[in-house]
């Protein structure tokens, strides 16, 4: 006989493990729609879409309002002491899709997945702009080509910063 292993389950163990496993898998598949990126639900090739991200910064105007200033992903801003600092979108965003600005890229796992990720990326970068005393928020204008249809544009904005 082969050496027994802790992984050799008895009849009851097998049944419980299989029941638990199948319940979890079924739940994850059925609830796929609740997750924008369809995580753990095996939605293969769900879309053939592309996105192109144009990044801007929302900055204050002397009149007390704000304007949106385009950026190519790198910008300079002064801190509270007047020292000029350099910032780049890719300092934190290393994702192979979201790191690309200004050109169409494949929207892996679908447009909803990438917009969800991009919103999180905008919030994350805005949160980590220590030393940027000018940027009030980050804005992404996203051109979307969904499943070969005509393109449309949508705008996402990070949570407001109060530098």
């Amino acid at each position: 006989m082969a050496k027994p292993s802790i992984l050799d389950l008895g009849i009851r163990g097998r049944t419980w493990l299989a029941a638990a496993y199948l319940t979890i898998q079924a739940s994850l598949v059925v609830t796929a729609g609740l997750r924008p990126d369809g995580l753990f639900s095996f939605q293969m090739f769900n879309e053939s879409s592309r996105i192109s991200i144009t990044l801007s910064r929302r900055v204050s105007t002397p009149a007390g309002g704000t304007i949106v200033v385009p950026t190519d992903g790198a910008w300079e801003a002064s801190d509270a002491g007047g020292v000029v600092r350099h910032f780049r979108w890719t300092d934190r965003v290393r994702d192979p899709i979201l790191r690309h600005l200004g050109r169409p890229v494949h929207a892996s796992y679908g447009v909803a997945a990438q917009l969800f990720r991009l919103q999180n990326a905008l919030d994350d970068v805005a949160l980590h702009l220590g030393g940027d005393g000018e940027t009030r928020g980050l804005v992404a204008d996203v051109r979307v080509w969904k499943n070969g249809r005509d393109s449309y544009e949508t705008r996402l904005e990070s949570r407001a910063r109060y530098p």
């Binding site: 898998q25 053939s48 965003v93």
Partner: protein, 364 residues
């Protein structure tokens, strides 16, 4: 239904094929681990989770620091090698699944269906006695000692079915998919990749035609739903396996799916009957073609389907005779089709050869 469940709970058979699948999963885990390592190195360098944008499913406090993250990536490679060679393979499979699922939970940007599926199959097969053959530097076990329960292997089969069902139903519910928009646009944009892999450009252009794309989309949806069920029915299993192999090879030729093609084809081996050498190749030792064919089958018979014997009398005047599981005998082109049916690397040729053999029937 009760008897089906009872049979699933208690079935025991030779674990040779399950062990082979484990060894190949080890190779796939190693390739996947190396891919992870490469991806992290290229896109992140030596930065930790705190230094880069990520979307964690776990609380931030549970994410690993830089050193632990690197150690876990290395651990995945070591565990994959253990799975591959069969040393402590079953605990290593559990460990690699746990580490892999933990890392996926640390950053959903790193999620890929094929990597997740690979971890699930590793986890499930850890509960099968998959370390009784294909263990490096350990003598092969006797057939009696290779006997073991197959419930976990059956659960892995069911997981394959879940993948097809989830994918097929999600496409069926999506009007863009049903109408062929997704597949049409994908084919248009995959033309360069497919041509680079040897697919004729004219074929890709023809497939992207809206009418044909719509038909292809319906075929793809039907295929996934059929495979979810057809793999389990004895009457459709062989054709479902062949259709599935062609389906995955087509996807591999036209898309980038990392390891999913090879993972699916590996798991397909679990649908082979666990009993070994139920078929026979009887060849005439004095005829060169018979000996050549016997040597070829011996090299390609990775699932140990055939008992290969020189037997001039049984070959009854032919170069070779194939004796099927049910005792049916075939020779000539039909015999070659029977070999292809049970030989992984020749399996894509099985249906074409069988169809050809109908035209030149050669049963004896």
């Amino acid at each position: 239904m009760t008897s089906l469940v009872r049979r699933w709970q208690t079935e025991e058979a030779d674990t040779y094929v399950v062990s082979l699948v484990r060894a190949i999963l080890g190779v796939l885990l190693l390739l996947s681990g190396l891919g992870n390592w490469r991806e992290v190195t290229i896109f992140r360098g030596d930065l930790g989770f705190a230094d880069v944008f990520h979307i964690a499913l776990l609380p931030e406090a549970l994410l690993p620091g830089r050193a632990l993250f690197a150690a876990l990536l290395v651990a995945q490679l070591v565990l994959a090698m253990l799975v591959m060679v069969g040393w402590c393979a079953r605990p290593a499979m559990v460990a690699t699944a746990v580490v892999g699922l933990y890392l996926l939970s640390c950053d959903r940007l790193a999620y890929h269906n094929n990597r997740y599926a690979l971890l699930l199959f590793a986890l499930l097969l850890a509960f099968a006695p998959c370390d009784r053959a294909f263990v490096w530097r350990r003598p092969a076990e006797t057939p009696v000692r290779r006997q073991g329960p197959l419930w976990a292997a059956r659960l892995a089969q069911l997981q394959m079915s879940i993948i097809y069902l989830a994918s097929g139903v999600s496409k069926l519910l999506d009007s863009d998919w049903r109408e062929g928009r997704v597949i049409g646009d994908r084919l248009v944009r995959a033309t360069a990749l497919a041509v680079a892999k040897g697919v004729p450009a004219a074929l890709m252009e023809a497939l992207a035609n809206p009418t044909l794309a719509s038909a292809l989309a319906k075929l793809a949806i039907f295929t996934e739903l059929f495979l979810a069920v057809g793999l389990f029915l004895p009457r459709t299993r062989t054709f479902a396996l062949w259709w599935g192999v062609m389906f995955h090879l087509t996807i591999e030729a036209t898309s980038q799916v990392e390891l999913f093609t090879w993972l699916s084809l590996t798991v397909y081996a679990l649908f082979a009957a666990p009993t070994l050498r139920e078929r026979a190749v009887l060849y005439h030792p004095a005829r060169p073609w018979g000996g050549w064919l016997a040597r070829g089958v011996a090299r390609l018979d990775w699932l140990a389907r055939f008992d290969i014997r020189a037997d001039a009398g049984a070959a009854s005047g032919h170069d070779f005779v194939i004796v099927e599981r049910d005792g049916t005998r075939a020779t000539g082109l039909l015999g070659v089709a029977c070999i292809a049916r049970a030989t992984p690397v020749l399996f894509p040729l099985f249906v074409p050869l069988r169809l050809l053999a109908f035209a030149f029937s050669s049963r004896v």
